[in-house]
């Protein structure tokens, strides 16, 4: 199993990369000891969105399916968590609400994905059908202000959003502040490792083969539709995980986290970071979220304009993504320097990963 951690589909391998990984992880783990609780809460907030970015990276970078519907599943699970947590009455059942809401999002992804993938929708149309579904969900939730829109005691509340659900709780211990932060770190490590193993496994190879050439993969005897559906369900489920965690983090969710411009955000993060690599997406998304949050404090519109500029600049200047591009440049430069300095026999180990820095 552990052999699958390194493979042709992911950048970064060998002792140096994993030492960097462990160093960053250790830094993340001791961070709450030094920072004040407000900053820790903010960091936990950035980390919420990482799942959504990793899911899109899997679908788009590895599977070749450009889904604009990440916030659709984010919203389904986010609202799902709220409805379930309110209806099931808080306490430890919030954990069940979290799991169930992600399952609901994955079922929704299965249904939508079935119609699109078995219908042979791909490329551009995949994007605009998923975006249409997203916008319609946002419009729908936006007009549920009246008291007749409720599921059990949970009011949907239209544009003002749904509130009043409990945060994640075990027994009588609310998972908030640094507990939530550690939960996020643990989940991200699990998801990141699991996705690395997935894309380097034989299933991952088929997913990548389908991206490269669906006909050829089909001729080799794989039912590519099943693999695409699997990719879509996993990727969308990760968006759902983000949504459920988001609702639990702030104890509210509004339709504006589903519609435009929210729907464009995961695209910007992943495109800017480099969609073809999980590590690049992880690092790049975190950096962008950090930057975005810093600017949003002054002006949300300005931050969104900057996101638009970044998206445009990425496709025009570095279609593979900036973080990935810079990472590769550094690796090449380092490799060349190493080769000049030392014996060429070391070239293999010198493929170290710099994205972590």
């Amino acid at each position: 199993m552990l052999k699958l951690l390194d493979g042709p589909q992911t950048l970064g391998r060998g002792r140096i990369f994993w030492s960097c990984f462990l160093a960053v992880l250790a830094g993340a783990l001791i961070y709450p000891l030094f920072a004040d609780s407000y900053d820790v809460g903010n960091f936990a907030y950035f980390l919420i969105w990482i799942f959504m970015a990793l899911g899109l990276c899997l679908m788009w970078g590895y599977g070749g399916m450009l889904s604009f519907g990440q916030t659709f599943f984010f919203g389904i699970a986010g609202y799902g968590y709220g409805v379930l947590a309110i209806n099931m009455g808080g306490g430890t059942t919030t954990i069940a609400a979290l799991v169930l809401s992600v399952v609901v999002a994955m079922i929704a992804a299965g249904i939508l994905g079935y119609f699109m993938i078995w219908g042979g929708i791909s490329g551009i149309f995949f994007g605009i059908v998923t975006l249409s579904a997203t916008l319609v969900l946002a419009f729908f939730l936006g007009q549920t202000a009246g008291p007749e829109w409720h599921i059990g005691p949970a009011r949907l509340n239209g544009f003002n959003g749904m509130k009043g659900m409990d945060p994640l709780t075990v027994g009588s211990f609310d998972i908030e502040g640094s507990a939530l932060y550690y939960l996020m770190i643990a989940l991200i490590v699990i998801v990141y490792i699991a996705l690395r193993m997935l894309v380097n496994s034989s299933v991952g190879n088929v997913i990548v083969a389908t991206r490269e050439n669906p006909q050829r993969a089909e001729m080799l005897g794989y039912d590519v539709r099943k693999y695409q559906l699997l990719t879509f369900v996993i990727g969308s489920g990760l968006a759902g995980l983000s949504g459920a965690l988001y609702t639990s983090w702030g104890q509210f969710i509004t339709p504006s986290s589903i519609g435009l411009p929210a729907a464009a955000m995961p695209i910007v993060w992943v495109a800017f970071s480099g969609r073809n690599d999980l590590t690049a997406t992880l690092v790049g998304s975190f950096l962008l979220l950090f930057g975005f949050q810093t600017i949003t404090v002054y002006s949300q519109q300005a931050a969104l304009v900057l996101m638009g500029v970044l998206l445009l600049a990425t496709v025009m200047l570095a279609p593979q993504g900036f973080v990935l591009g810079i990472g590769k440049l550094v690796v090449d430069w380092w490799g060349r320097r190493r080769r000049r300095d030392e014996a060429p026999a070391l070239a293999d180990t010198s493929r170290l990963q710099s994205d972590e820095t």
């Binding site: 149309f125 994007g127 695209i267 500029v309 279609p319």
Partner: protein, 288 residues
């Protein structure tokens, strides 16, 4: 009886006009270049703002609307030259680039103009049939939609430009080899597409509240119409609009706008399962 019939037709015409006007520009750009212009909604917004601005300056409404469409067309050609042109070989990237553009434009408008623009009222005038009263302007919109389709038919089927454009659409390399200046054809087509978007905004400007994010109210309709319609405007978009308008009208009448929109989306998702290439593929195949 005839009054009820007319009322049904009126409701159909209203939805049909909305679908055609919002989708025509998008469909042309997609049909010619295979590019979906994600900034389509922003060109609609541009048309609406220019119209309202000119009317507030004292320009008569119809002239303001034509000028707004022209403005959107010219801006479209500039955008094509600066951005879209590089992405004809990479349609997915064109989606991202135009989406980035859309974000920039919407949010900059929110920053600079804000939402403080004085709107103009719907042109008054109504007529009565039987016991019902109808707004004349809604019928005008329907005739504009029909006129847009007729105009596109003439441009693409009856003119020299149309012949070259259709040749480019079918096989760009061959058309180029035969001396067609495909780059210019693309540029003009993109201009026509965005001018139609501007026209849509101009025509609906009197009926809506002007906000920088107003484009979003059009994009779902235009996307689904193009998805169902496929690459051919006349043989795809128009029948798709008829079909979707019927579904939408039935649902709107009994359940309201939002259920109408959801129902339309469900219909689209069911249809793509059966007809992935869109309606135009069926019609074109029949035609051969």
């Amino acid at each position: 009886m005839s009054a009820e019939l007319f009322s049904v037709f009126y409701q159909f015409a209203d939805v049909f006009a909305f679908l055609i006007l919002s989708a025509a520009g998008l469909a042309i750009v997609f049909g010619m270049m295979g590019v979906i212009n994600m900034a389509h909604g922003e060109f609609i917004m541009c048309g609406a703002y220019v119209t309202v601005g000119l009317v507030n300056l004292g320009v008569p409404l119809p002239i303001a609307q034509i000028l707004a469409a022209l403005t959107a067309g010219i801006i479209g050609m500039i955008v094509e030259y600066l951005v879209v042109r590089r992405f004809y070989k990479r349609p997915l990237d064109s989606l991202l680039a135009t989406w980035g553009l859309s974000l920039i434009v919407t949010q900059s408008m929110l920053l600079t103009v804000g939402s403080a623009v004085r709107g103009i009222g719907t042109p008054e005038g109504s007529f009565a049939i039987g016991g019902y009263t109808f707004s004349t302007y809604r019928l005008v919109l329907f005739f504009c939609a029909v006129a847009v389709l007729a105009g596109l038919y003439i441009i693409f089927m009856k003119t020299r430009f149309g012949v070259i454009a259709r040749a480019t659409m079918q096989n760009a390399a061959m058309a180029k080899a035969l001396g067609a200046r495909t780059g210019r054809i693309y540029s003009i087509s993109f201009g026509i597409g965005t001018a139609l978007a501007g026209l849509c905004g101009a025509l609906y400007a009197p009926t809506m509240t002007l906000i920088p994010t107003m484009g979003a109210t059009f994009v779902v309709e235009s996307f689904v119409t193009v998805v169902i319609g496929g690459a051919n405007v006349l043989l795809g978009t128009a029948p798709a609009a008829v079909f979707l308008a019927m579904i939408r009208m039935a649902l709107n009448a009994s359940y309201g706008q939002i259920i109408g929109q959801i129902g339309m989306l469900f219909a689209v998702i069911l249809i793509i399962r059966v007809l992935p290439e869109g309606l135009s593929s069926v019609l074109v195949r029949r035609g051969r």
